[in-house]
C-alpha cells in the first residue's frame, strides 16, 4: 500500500507585503466611503480640508513661490516705470474716493426718501485659489476661506476683472467655488445691460459655450436696441449677487422672431485661464 504523505504547505496566494497593501487599500476604501456617502459631516469636511491643504502646502505653494520669485526678478527692469504710473493713480485715488463717498451718501439719502433699499452694498473677503481640478472637467476651484471667515453658500466670487462664480460648498477653512464656465449649474445669474447712462434692460445668463468661449444670455425685452460692445453687469435681482459686477461685453445680438426677447452672446471680462487672488462678496 503506498504511503500517504502530507502535502507540503502550498505557497500562500499573497505574500506579506501584498497582504499589508491590501489591508491599506481596504482601510482607504472604508475611509472614502465614510467621507463620501455620509457627506456633509465633520469627518467629510476635515478629510477634504486635509487633502486640499496638504496638496497646497506640498506642491502648489512652493511651486508658485519659485515661479513668482523668477517672475519678480525678470520684472525688476520695469519696476521704475510701473512705480511712476502707480504713484499717479494713487494721487487721483483720493479724488475718486471723495466722489464715491459723496455719491454713496446722496444715494443713501434718496433711498431713505423713497423708502427703498438697494443690494449693491457688500463686504469683500479676500481669498487665494489653492486647488483646482487637475483634469479641468468640473469647473470647480477651492479657495482658502471658509465658514470660519464668514463664508456662506451662494456668495458671489469675483476677480479683479469681473464675476467668476459662486460658492457651492463651504467647509471650516476652505470653500468650493463653481465657475461661470460650468456647463452644469443649478442657478442662472440675472444680468443688466447698460443701454445709456440712465437706461438699462435686464435678462438672465443661460449657458457658457466652450466652442466659442462666450456666454449666451436671454434679454426679456425685445424692443430695446442692444449694440455690440455694451457692458453687461449683474442686476442684483434675487439678492444673492450684488448689482454692478462686470460680466463682459456684448459680442453678438440675435433677435428671436418667434419668441419674446433677444438672445445675445457675451464675451467674458474674466480670463478663466489663470487667476490666483479672488474676493468673495458678502451682501450687506
Amino acid at each position: 500500500m503506498p504511503k500517504i504523505t502530507k502535502r507540503p504547505n502550498e505557497t500562500a496566494r499573497f505574500n506579506r507585503s501584498q497582504k499589508i497593501l491590501i489591508f491599506i487599500c481596504i482601510i482607504l476604501l472604508i475611509f472614502g466611503f465614510s467621507t463620501r456617502i455620509m457627506g456633509g459631516n465633520a469627518a467629510s469636511e476635515s478629510g477634504y480640508d486635509l487633502f486640499t491643504m496638504l496638496r497646497y502646502s506640498l506642491i502648489e505653494k512652493p511651486t508658485r513661490t519659485i515661479l513668482n520669485f523668477s517672475k519678480d526678478i525678470s520684472n525688476l527692469w520695469n519696476v521704475q516705470s510701473e512705480n511712476d504710473e502707480l504713484r499717479q493713480e494713487i494721487a487721483s485715488q483720493k479724488m475718486y474716493k471723495s466722489e464715491l463717498d459723496d455719491t454713496k451718501r446722496r444715494l443713501a439719502e434718496l433711498e431713505a426718501l423713497q423708502g427703498i433699499t438697494s443690494n449693491d452694498q457688500y463686504d469683500s473677503i479676500g481669498a487665494t485659489v489653492i486647488a483646482r481640478d487637475v483634469q479641468g472637467w468640473s469647473n470647480v476651484m477651492t479657495i482658502n476661506v471658509g465658514s470660519n471667515d464668514g463664508i456662506t453658500k451662494d456668495m458671489s466670487v469675483i476677480s479683479s476683472k469681473g464675476l467668476l462664480g459662486r460658492v457651492v460648498e463651504v467647509h471650516d477653512k476652505t470653500s468650493k467655488v463653481q465657475l461661470l464656465t460650468a456647463e452644469k449649474t443649478d442657478s442662472q445669474v440675472s444680468i443688466k445691460i447698460e443701454l445709456s447712462s440712465d437706461k438699462s434692460t435686464t435678462g438672465s445668463l443661460e449657458t457658457y459655450d466652450k466652442t466659442t468661449g462666450m456666454f449666451t444670455a436671454n434679454i426679456f425685452d425685445s424692443t430695446v436696441e442692444i449694440k455690440k460692445g455694451m457692458k453687461v453687469v449683474t442686476s442684483g435681482i434675487g439678492g444673492a449677487t450684488p448689482s454692478g459686477i462686470l460680466i463682459g461685453e456684448v459680442q453678438d445680438v440675435e433677435k428671436l422672431y418667434n419668441a419674446e426677447g433677444v438672445k445675445i452672446q457675451i464675451k467674458p471680462a474674466v480670463d478663466f485661464n489663470d487667476f490666483t487672488y479672488v474676493s468673495v462678496l458678502k451682501v450687506k
Binding site: 499573497f14 507585503s17 501584498q18 497593501l21 491590501i22 491599506i24 487599500c25 482607504l28 476604501l29 472614502g32 466611503f33 463620501r36 477634504y48 487633502f51 486640499t52 496638504l54 496638496r55 506640498l58 506642491i59 502648489e60 511651486t63 508658485r64 515661479l67 486647488a131 483646482r132 481640478d133 487637475v134 483634469q135 479641468g136 472637467w137 468640473s138 469647473n139 465657475l179 464656465t181 456647463e183 452644469k184 457658457y208 466652450k210 466652442t211 466659442t212 468661449g213 467674458p268 478663466f272 485661464n273 489663470d274
Partner: protein, 183 residues
C-alpha cells in the same frame, strides 16, 4: 516593490507641479494639455510587475489621484484598474523598447481620457463636442505626454538597474554568509 511604488507616487507629485506651472484652461476654448506624467509612469511600471502587484498599485494610485487631485471617489480607481487590465492583456504582445512604450502609453492615455470624457458626458457635466475635445484637449495632451514617456523610459531603466544591482548585492552578501556558516 517599494521602490516601484515610491517612484510612481513621486511621478504623480510631479504631475501636480506641472499642473501648477501650466494650469488647465477652464474655459476649454483653446488648445491645452493635461499632464499625465504619473499615469505614464504607472503604465510603464505595471507592465513589468506580476498581476496582483500591478492591481494593488493601480488601486492605490487611483485612490491617491482621487483624494489628492480631483476630489472624487472611485472614478480614477475604476479607470486605473481598467488600465491595468488593458496593459496586462497587451503585455505579451508589446516589448520594452522605446517605440513600443510610446505606443502603449498613447493607447492607454487615450483610453483613460475617453472614459473620463464619456463619464462626464453621460453624467451631464459637460457638453463639449467630440471634435472640440479631440482638437483642444487630446491632441496636445498626447503630444506632450509622448515627451514625458521619453523621460520615463530613461528613468524606469535607471530604477530597474538600481533594483537589479541591489538584488545582486543582497545575493552576494547571502553567498558570503552561507560560506561563513559552512566554516
Amino acid at each position: 516593490m517599494v521602490v516601484q511604488y515610491i517612484f510612481v507616487f513621486a511621478c504623480f507629485l510631479i504631475d501636480g507641479i506641472i499642473e501648477t506651472c501650466f494650469p488647465v484652461n477652464f474655459a476649454m476654448n483653446s488648445v491645452y494639455f493635461v499632464s499625465c506624467f504619473g499615469v505614464c509612469a504607472l503604465i510603464l511600471t505595471i507592465r513589468k510587475m506580476d498581476f496582483i502587484d500591478a492591481l494593488i498599485l493601480s488601486i492605490l494610485s487611483g485612490m491617491f489621484y482621487d483624494f489628492f487631485f480631483t476630489n472624487s471617489f472611485l472614478v480614477y480607481i475604476f479607470i486605473f484598474v481598467l488600465l491595468c487590465f488593458i496593459v496586462k492583456a497587451w503585455q505579451k504582445h508589446v516589448g520594452e523598447s522605446l517605440l513600443e512604450s510610446i505606443i502603449l502609453a498613447i493607447c492607454s492615455l487615450f483610453t483613460m481620457q475617453l472614459i473620463t470624457y464619456a463619464l462626464m458626458w453621460f453624467s451631464g457635466d459637460t457638453r463639449v463636442s467630440f471634435n472640440s475635445w479631440i482638437y483642444n484637449r487630446m491632441f496636445l495632451t498626447l503630444v506632450v505626454n509622448v515627451g514625458f514617456v521619453f523621460i520615463l523610459h530613461f528613468l524606469t531603466n535607471l530604477r530597474d538597474d538600481y533594483i537589479r544591482m541591489r538584488d545582486l548585492k543582497i545575493r552576494k552578501d547571502e553567498k558570503l554568509s552561507t560560506r561563513l556558516l559552512r566554516r
